[in-house]
């Protein structure tokens, strides 16, 4: 750890005089010499990467260390190792691509998303010749949407019973989650939805059900995801998503859309020139020739799905189209369900930290009128994530519009209608709302203690 590290290290302290002598051995190890002459070997101060990340006590480079641990270079190393490894040591490599990354690549390579998906599948499978499956996180997002819907209705019905808090705040964005844990801690955590993000649901699926089906242990699979931002790398390395039993992460490596482009450039390949491969349909919504999406925008559509479901479940109202009312800026929008002049549901979209800040402020003062808020850290949402491909020549605004157009060109599917997902609830999880479902599809959050740097004030 850096000299300025203030992370407390648990030390077994013997009662007695504080003063002790320290002897340094020839090999550089430290021994504490006690009053009675006995020597105790002192442990080297160590700090886990996750502890380091969670604290903001010093100018740490831990986050950049972590981020370089998960990169396209790391992926190449793993694939190279895998190719030459003994059959018993070899891992099954699975790549899960987010629809936002796919749309960004489609815009850059000037193709439609279906063509992009097929060519990406072919490209990944050719990489190191040991990528075996390429999935689409739209599939796992179906679970996230269904769970969020159910969670909201339950919380709404339990209002006033002291346990669950409203507004429920979206949980799919790790940029928001890490910020919330660090800056608002135990105040804000009760409001955040416990539903896992599509990335992590896919992690549970691949290392759980899929591994079983393949007769493999979870640690025999190397799971890569392609995401529109860097914060997804931090999400993947959360201790909550580490499988203790098999000592493996649910998601081993996250690469950004931009890193995929670097990979292509490294291999000297232009995606549009790649011969398309059939899509892996194991975890997918429709047949091999079709891709589906979810309505409600490029960040997953949480507000829309929860709103429509809640309107039906709680008030028997069928909503087909949603009217968004923009407030002070385009990243803060409201949706209201009214009947006979009474407001039944009030939802909002809050993208970007300025809007998040104002939302939390209102919450703290008890002035928030909302039941649900789709919170995302990036202005304009995931399609504009920090890891997406940057505009090349055209304005970034035009680029974003193009990506949005491509993303929204797909047919949307209602999550309840997905038969594969419904079947998996039974086969894999033993039913909706089961303990297994809770464990696989939900998570928890941890407030980060604010570090107090008593010694080193940096003016």
């Amino acid at each position: 750890p850096f000299q300025e590290c203030i992370k407390p290290v648990k030390v077994e302290k013997k009662p007695g005089n504080a003063a002790a002598k320290i002897r340094i051995e020839a090999d550089g190890s430290y021994f504490q010499i006690n009053q009675d002459g006995g020597a105790q070997k002192l442990e080297k101060a160590k700090i886990t990467l996750n502890d380091c990340l969670a604290c903001s006590g010093c100018i740490t480079s831990a986050e950049s260390v972590l981020i370089t641990q998960q990169s396209h270079e790391e992926l190449c190393k793993v694939l190279a190792w895998n190719k030459t490894a003994a059959p018993k040591e070899q891992k099954l490599v699975v790549v899960s691509v987010s629809p936002q990354s796919r749309a960004s690549l489609a815009a850059r390579c000037k193709m439609d998303v279906l063509e992009t998906a097929k060519k990406l599948t072919a490209f990944f499978k050719s990489l190191g010749k040991c990528v075996h499956y390429v999935f689409d996180t739209t599939f796992s997002r179906t679970f996230s949407l269904l769970e969020s819907q159910r969670e909201f209705v339950r919380r709404f019905r339990e209002q006033g019973q002291g346990t669950q808090a409203l507004p429920m705040l979206a949980s799919a964005c790790p940029g928001w989650i890490c910020y919330a844990e660090k800056t608002h801690g135990s105040f804000i955590i009760p409001y955040i939805s416990t539903t896992k993000s599509p990335q992590q649901v896919m992690g549970s699926l691949v290392k759980g059900h899929f591994a079983e089906q393949q007769h493999l242990r979870p640690d025999q699979i190397y799971h890569v995801t392609v995401m529109p931002c860097y914060d997804k790398k931090l999400e993947a390395s959360r201790p909550d998503f580490f499988n203790q039993e098999y000592q493996t992460r649910d998601v081993d490596c996250v690469i950004t859309t931009g890193e995929v482009l670097k990979l292509l450039e490294q291999e000297g390949i232009s995606l549009s020139d790649v011969a398309p491969a059939p899509l892996d349909t194991m975890f997918s919504s429709a047949a091999a020739e079709e891709l589906t999406s979810h309505s409600g925008g490029g960040s997953g559509g949480y507000l829309e799905h929860i709103y429509k479901h809640a309107a039906k479940e709680l008030f028997g109202i069928q909503v087909d189209t949603i009217q968004y009312k923009p407030l002070k800026n385009k990243d803060f929008q409201e949706v209201t369900l009214e009947k006979d002049g009474v407001v039944l549901l009030q939802f909002a979209l809050a993208y970007g930290f300025r809007n998040i800040q104002n939302l939390v402020q209102k919450l703290k003062r008890g002035k928030s009128p909302y039941h649900y808020v789709e919170v995302m850290a990036c202005p304009s949402g995931c399609l504009n994530g920090g890891g997406q491909i940057k505009a090349d020549g055209e304005s970034s605004k035009d680029q974003l519009q193009q990506v949005e157009r491509l993303y929204e060109a797909l047919q949307t599917e209602v999550p309840e209608k997905n038969r594969t997902v419904a079947a998996l609830y039974e086969q894999w999880l033993g039913g909706v709302g089961s303990d297994k479902a809770l464990k696989a599809l939900h998570t928890q959050y941890h407030a980060v203690e604010r570090a107090s740097t008593g010694f080193n004030i940096k003016w």
Binding site: Y179, T183, K330, F353, N355, Q357, P379, I457, W459
Partner: protein, 304 residues
Amino acid sequence: GAGAAVPRPGAPRVPVLVPGLEPRREPAGVLRRGPDCAAVGQGRACVPHPQRGHHPAPPTPGQGWACRAVLGEGHQRTVRRVAWSPCGSYLASASFDATTCIWKKQEDGFECVTTLEGHENEVKSVAWAPSGTLLATCSRDKSVWVWEVDEEEEYECVSVLNSHTQDVKHVVWHPNQELLASASYDDTVKLYQEEEDDWVCCATLEGHESTVWSVAFDRSGERLASCSDDKTVRIWRRYKPGNEEGVACSGTDPTWKCVCNLSGYHTRTIYDVAWCHLTGALATACGDDAIRIFEESSASDPQQ
């Protein structure tokens, strides 16, 4: 040392040191803690300077300063900066506890009307815009936040700017426009203004070789002075598109160019710079225990 430097033709303009202000070895004075002294910040026991043999006489009524308030409950850590609002009724305090408090003057003291939260760690500076409706804060979390206050004294975050790559030390507003400047550990000064429904970084001033600790605009706002750990003060001038001097601009945005580098005068980090709007003189606060005053010599070329 002091002395007038004759500007060579074509050389950057060299301001003159006002003679009489030699670098001093002893600290000029100490904060004295009297019975009703308000030390805003960590109370530190003050030691009378050994070379001073006496304590100043207590202020006679009608003269001197009286401590009116001690605002000890607002922050949990060092208070790093305080700033009066243009109207004088409010005081903002920026703290290492990651919050900024807004205090309102009442008849019998000050009341904390709101606490601005959101920064992830130490807030280094706070500044009010001349209009009085905008406030800027900056932090070790590398961001600059712009806040707006409405008639009901409600503060709202208007923008979170993540342009700097390191700790942001100071924020300063332009004297008469809604243009914001920030100084950072990343060796740059950045400028921000409103564009559509958000604030954007419209200029980055590169040149310093180490942390920029402070910035100051001149009275007109056409020039900016920055001071740094690299022991220099740099003066930057704004050039609008279509300017006579032929300085290139991109589109409709002005360009800022460094027109002077005051190098070799300071022997340690320069922590602060102040530009007098009446006389045009620049004063610097330096880690070598001295204050230096710079004035422009009238013989120099205004474009340098």
